[in-house]
């Protein structure tokens, strides 16, 4: 019964489809065919490899990833080894990771499969595949500054000062950024107060001795008064 009814219902569906978008389906099919044959897109893959491995193992793992990319018919271009870096937050209870960047050209239809395989790979902590623009040239950036500067109070203070002085050239008279309390550098006043406190270390001792004398006097005097 059920099968029969479904059979009854099935005819209208293809008819509807063909009515609504007969040309569209045709064009999409053509487009897919074109992309699968000719079009290749530039991608970039960044991988974080677990920090537990030795240097030799790490190089092996990198080779494995290159093989994986090769298995998906991709041309590897520029590669970059960032080495061992601190992570901004712990991943799988690990604080460090080996970063490696691959630029490659690949057929877009292969990407889901590559994604799948990278997700299963045991030594990959995390990865990211990004499309690159066609005229992108690999850049060199300052990667040396620590990822977590907030661990050092001094760096924090300077950063805060920088932030306060920071202003974009476009921000002229018309709009000024809203003043916010947290943009003020908090640790700076503490720094200033510290040297001020230091100079009088000798005085309190004298004061104490004087105080003791005074106390004794008072006590003795008090006793007299009470008696």
């Amino acid at each position: 019964m059920h099968d029969g009814s479904s059979l009854c219902y099935s005819p209208p569906v293809p008819i509807l489809n063909s009515r609504i978008m007969p040309t569209k389906t045709d064009t999409t099919v053509d487009h897919d065919a074109e992309t699968s044959e000719s079009e290749v897109i530039r991608y970039e893959l960044m991988v974080i490899v677990t920090p537990d491995v030795t240097q030799a193992d790490y190089e092996k793992h990198v080779e494995e990833i290159k093989k994986l990319l090769g298995a998906h018919n991709s041309k590897i271009g520029h590669t970059e080894d960032w080495g061992k870096r601190d992570l901004a937050y712990s991943i799988k209870k690990k604080e460090h990771g080996y970063y490696y960047v691959f630029d490659f050209e690949m057929d877009p239809s292969e990407v889901p499969e590559l994604n799948k395989q990278l997700r299963i790979t045991p030594f990959v902590l995390r990865y990211l595949i990004v499309k690159l623009p066609e005229n992108y040239t690999p850049q060199k950036y300052d990667l040396e500054t620590p990822v977590r500067p907030e661990y050092k109070p001094e760096a924090m203070a300077t950063e805060g000062a920088k932030r306060q002085n920071y202003s974009r050239p476009g921000s002229g008279a018309t709009h000024k950024p809203r003043p916010v309390a947290h943009t003020k550098p908090m640790p700076l006043p503490a720094k200033e107060t510290v040297p001020k406190v230091e100079p009088p270390p000798a005085k309190p001792k004298e004061d104490l001795s004087k105080l003791d004398e005074k106390l004794e006097e008072l006590l003795s005097g008090g006793d007299d008064l009470n008696l």
Binding site: M46, I48, L87, A88, Y89, I91, G97, Y99, V101, R126, L128, V130, L132, P133, N135, Y136, T137, Q139, Y141, D142, L143, T145, V147, R148, E150, E159, G160, R163, Y166, R168, G170, S171, H175, P177, R178, H182, T183
Partner: protein, 60 residues
């Protein structure tokens, strides 16, 4: 802000990522950055990518 010759904001540009993140590590809103909407959107995407790769923290 973009990579020269393109209209792509690179998530690997860590100084830039830090510049557009507040002290609390939140993405600075447009009334701070004064960036055009298109750039702000690309910038936000880039910061989110950098966060995913543990280059920039999610929270302080």
């Amino acid at each position: 802000m973009c990579v020269p010759g393109t209209n792509y904001v690179d998530y690997k540009n860590l100084p830039l990522m830090r510049q557009y993140v507040s002290i609390n590590k939140r993405i600075k809103p447009r009334y701070y950055t004064r960036a055009p909407l298109v750039l702000q959107k690309r910038l936000a995407r880039a910061i989110k990518n950098a966060r995913h790769m543990a280059l920039v923290p999610f929270v302080k």
